[in-house]
Amino acid sequence: MTLVKLCSAYLRLRFGTAVLNVTLVALGVLIVAVVLLVGSQLRERIERQIRGIDLVVGAKGSPLQLILSVVFQIDVPSGNVNVDDVAFLRTHPLVASAVPVALGDSAFGFRLLGSEPSFLNERGISIGEGRVWEEPMEAVLGAEVARTMGLRVGSQFLGSHGLTGGIAHGDHPYTVVGIARPTGTVVDRLILTSLESVWRVHTPRGSLATPPEGDGRSREITALLVRYRTPLAAIQLPRLVNAKPMLIGAAPAFEAARLLSLVGFGLDALRVFGWVLLVTAAGSVLVALTNALSDRRADLALMRVLGATRGLLIRLLLLEAVVLAGAGSIVGLSLAHLSLELFGRFVPEAQAAGLSGLALAQGELWLVPGTLLLAVFAAATPAVRAYRADLVGTLVRG
């Protein structure tokens, strides 16, 4: 016999109540843990996504929409810009790099992004298999695209008009020439190709020729990803861009902060709800232990007769609270990670956001001691009552 065995015997005796207590604690921990995990993963992913991009220049419209569509690939761009309109930025002395991107098509539900090979360097992408595109209609697959679709170097596929699938561009098959290494960013879910490929599939039917420069037909891109050469550019360039009637310059860091504050409000509300649930769970532990104390008054008196000190009875009640809270914490944390992992695997929006149950959030493990502490506070009142119990009176009354 040990205190733990005695504790588990008592918990088994009132199994239903114990399950209810554990469930309440687990629910509270689940919600708080999910909020922490989602919050930290979103923040980390957003920061990783915008790394190396100081300014996104696109068509006039919402700057947040521009960032969401071009950087995070989760919205539709507000329009295109003429290549000539942004040409001044490519040679501007305050610009270290300016990479054009063109969106508009997709394949198998994954977005096709036209750009230049420098896009790979700027976004920290390396080729795991094959090579970078050199000719129009050659494509490099993001790691997840290749894995999901089972495509290999040499495979051919057709793009569809629109970002969510539409009419297939049947005359213009793409050939896979490379597969990128996983980056843990949205790039893993992109199909990369040259700007010329995007332009070619959108020329009038039957014409495969890329419009020659200066022929009067404009070539358009969705945006230009700009990296500053000096911090001074952060002051001058947005002003310069926004002065152009057709252009808007959006700073990803600023828009991401806005996005996080919007999402953060919801997360904070959820976190508060989770803690309210945890406090409710602590209350249920308090009620359960108080009831147990009433049911067990004779047992506790008997234990004193058998040699138990008051301290041991307190330890027994505290242990019960700790076991309930500990079990609830473990169940809650496990469910949080399991649900997030399933969510991240099977729900497309969660996939796009890169949610995973396999990572730990900062501060998440503090939930366990925090919950245990709450349980100990909850158990304090019944424990003190057990300490002060009238032993002789209980024995006499039976």
Partner: protein, 233 residues
């Protein structure tokens, strides 16, 4: 001065030669509700002693056992058990001392419902801080005739079986003193005789002194020490 209603008649047969002193009570007074229920100048029990404390309800029998067990402090005098003055021990030490040296069969049994029969015995060893092998505990259950109920939950036991478990549990830590409060009050003649025989036999096996508080006159002849409370004879 004791109040006129108080009394005690102590009838004692000589102890076995060489038997160690187990209980010594000197100048004991127990006052409840402003009324002195027990006054005892000197009372001594040695190993193998079999004492019965008699008296009607409310005469202080249970309180007397509580004092002997160190569960409540006397209102006067001192109680020495196995050479230890209970008043000189701190509460924590007194709890531990009681667990190790005193077995107690409570009036209303009080088996722990959450535990099996064997676990109730293990609990007694654990709370006393002793390590008693399961074989010894099973032997005790065999001694009280419950070897086939070892793993039974206590709520499945009959009143008589529960009584036997309580007796076995009181002996787990090889106490020098066993106290039993009204162990036969709810039993018929046959079962009362059986319980008394059992108490006498198992305490005799281990050389413990036995003190039984009862108002059951049927069992008095089995004891060699008699203490009557609530009498002025």
């Amino acid at each position: 001065m004791p109040s006129p209603s108080l009394w005690i008649v102590a009838v004692t047969t000589p102890a076995e030669p060489g038997a160690k002193q187990v209980v010594l009570v000197e100048g004991l007074r127990i006052v409840i509700g402003g009324r002195t229920l027990v006054g005892l100048d000197r009372w001594e029990l040695r190993e193998h002693a079999r004492a019965v404390v008699l008296g009607p309800s409310g005469s202080g029998k249970t309180s007397f056992l509580h004092v002997l067990a160190g569960l409540r402090a006397p209102d006067g005098g001192r109680v020495i058990v196995a050479g230890h003055d209970l008043a000189e021990l701190t509460e924590t030490r007194r709890d531990a001392f009681r667990g190790r040296h005193i077995g107690y069969v409570l009036q209303s049994l009080h088996l722990v419902k959450a535990l099996s029969v064997l676990d109730n015995l293990r609990l007694a060893a654990f709370l006393a801080g002793n390590s008693v092998p399961d074989a010894e505990l099973r032997g005790l259950l065999q001694r009280v005739g419950l070897e086939d109920r070892t793993n039974a939950p206590t709520f499945e036991l009959s009143q008589g079986e529960a009584q036997r478990v309580a007796i076995a549990r009181a002996l787990v830590n090889r106490p020098v003193l066993v106290l039993a409060d009204e162990p036969t009050s709810a039993l018929d003649d046959r079962n009362a005789r059986s319980v008394v025989d059992l108490l006498l036999a198992v305490t005799a096996d281990r050389g413990a002194a036995l003190v039984v508080a009862t108002h059951d006159a049927r069992i008095v002849p089995f004891f060699d020490h008699r203490l009557e409370l609530g009498s002025d004879r």
